[in-house]
Assembly symmetry: C2
Homo-oligomer: 195 residues x 2
Amino acid sequence: MARTAASRADLLPVLAEVFREHGYEGASLALIGQRTGLGKGSLYHFFPGGKAEMAACVLAAIDAWFEDAMFRPLREDPDAKAAIRTMLATTDTYFRSGNRICLVGVLALGEARDRFAERIDGYFAAWRDALAAALVRAGLNSAEAVGRAEDAVAMIQGNLVAARALRDPALFGRGLTRLETRLLAACGSSDGGRR
Amino acid sequence: MARTAASRADLLPVLAEVFREHGYEGASLALIGQRTGLGKGSLYHFFPGGKAEMAACVLAAIDAWFEDAMFRPLREDPDAKAAIRTMLATTDTYFRSGNRICLVGVLALGEARDRFAERIDGYFAAWRDALAAALVRAGLNSAEAVGRAEDAVAMIQGNLVAARALRDPALFGRGLTRLETRLLAACGSSDGGRR
DNA sequence: GTCTATAAAGCGATAGAC
DNA sequence: GTCTATCGCTTTATAGAC
């Protein structure tokens, strides 16, 4: 971290990683200070609301990133099946093939859930709805698409939990591969011979 | 909570619930004291090792309960498909149809993971292996069974995360139903996953 | 076996110098 | 914009009365 003229935007990725690794309660200001290289004074200069504001900003940044990289393409890409494949590949990259966990999931299970309930709810709902929209464009009826999308989001989160619990990051990739097979098979073969 | 002559065994269910609701770090001794009706002195009388010992005992009790109610039947019941159906019904009951979350999953994602790594690992591995054993007895080959079991455990955990995140407990039941359909269909076809 | 009182450390947050 | 010092509170854990 730069020792001077840091900006909120520069801090967010570091903050995100600290919250991911230690949870909301576990990420103490002392630890955040170490990881950012900033003292408490500087941190409160950028985030007058303290830790709660830091976490809220991190969540907003994550939301924006996912919306841009995954949710909008899922909703809008003319080639729905390609968008689904891309989403799964991006998911694998984002979670570093199972070596990273989902901050939103961590917050959802932790004590700070109520404080960030809207953001957490919004993130999961947006992922499910965007994927369902892609599945509908790929030919599924609405009810089937929502069910499959719900399954897929749960599958991703569950594999992150299991990979962490079993200390087996590769489990995440195996799960994603099976998920891709299942999702694309459900769309049927009317895809013009792609893949 | 009885005000006198309490025993460790009486305390464990209450402790489990507090850890589930607030996580390891969030479950302060003050809160535990409130919920058990015991002062700190009494708590340290029963658990000289403090909070860490409380959580370890709770995890051991959970392990034993799952082994008895789910894992052993999965491994030993002559009717493997019935054992799988029972396991899923028991899972729904245990997690109160999505209103309860999994303490082991919470710990796996939280900061206290390393401290309880063996127990957490053991719980997930035992569930996966017991289900895989049932699937093998139901006719699947070993590799297919392990993959399906891995998927199923992740599915359950992921649905708990999603149900909590979306504040929609019913999501858990929907996921379990789809999981049951998928698992039994895999056994039902007499090719046994050998195609 | 249960309690209150208290120690020692860490927490989030603030004040004010530079 | 960054720092150090410090406040007030909560934490885990212990000591000792009953």
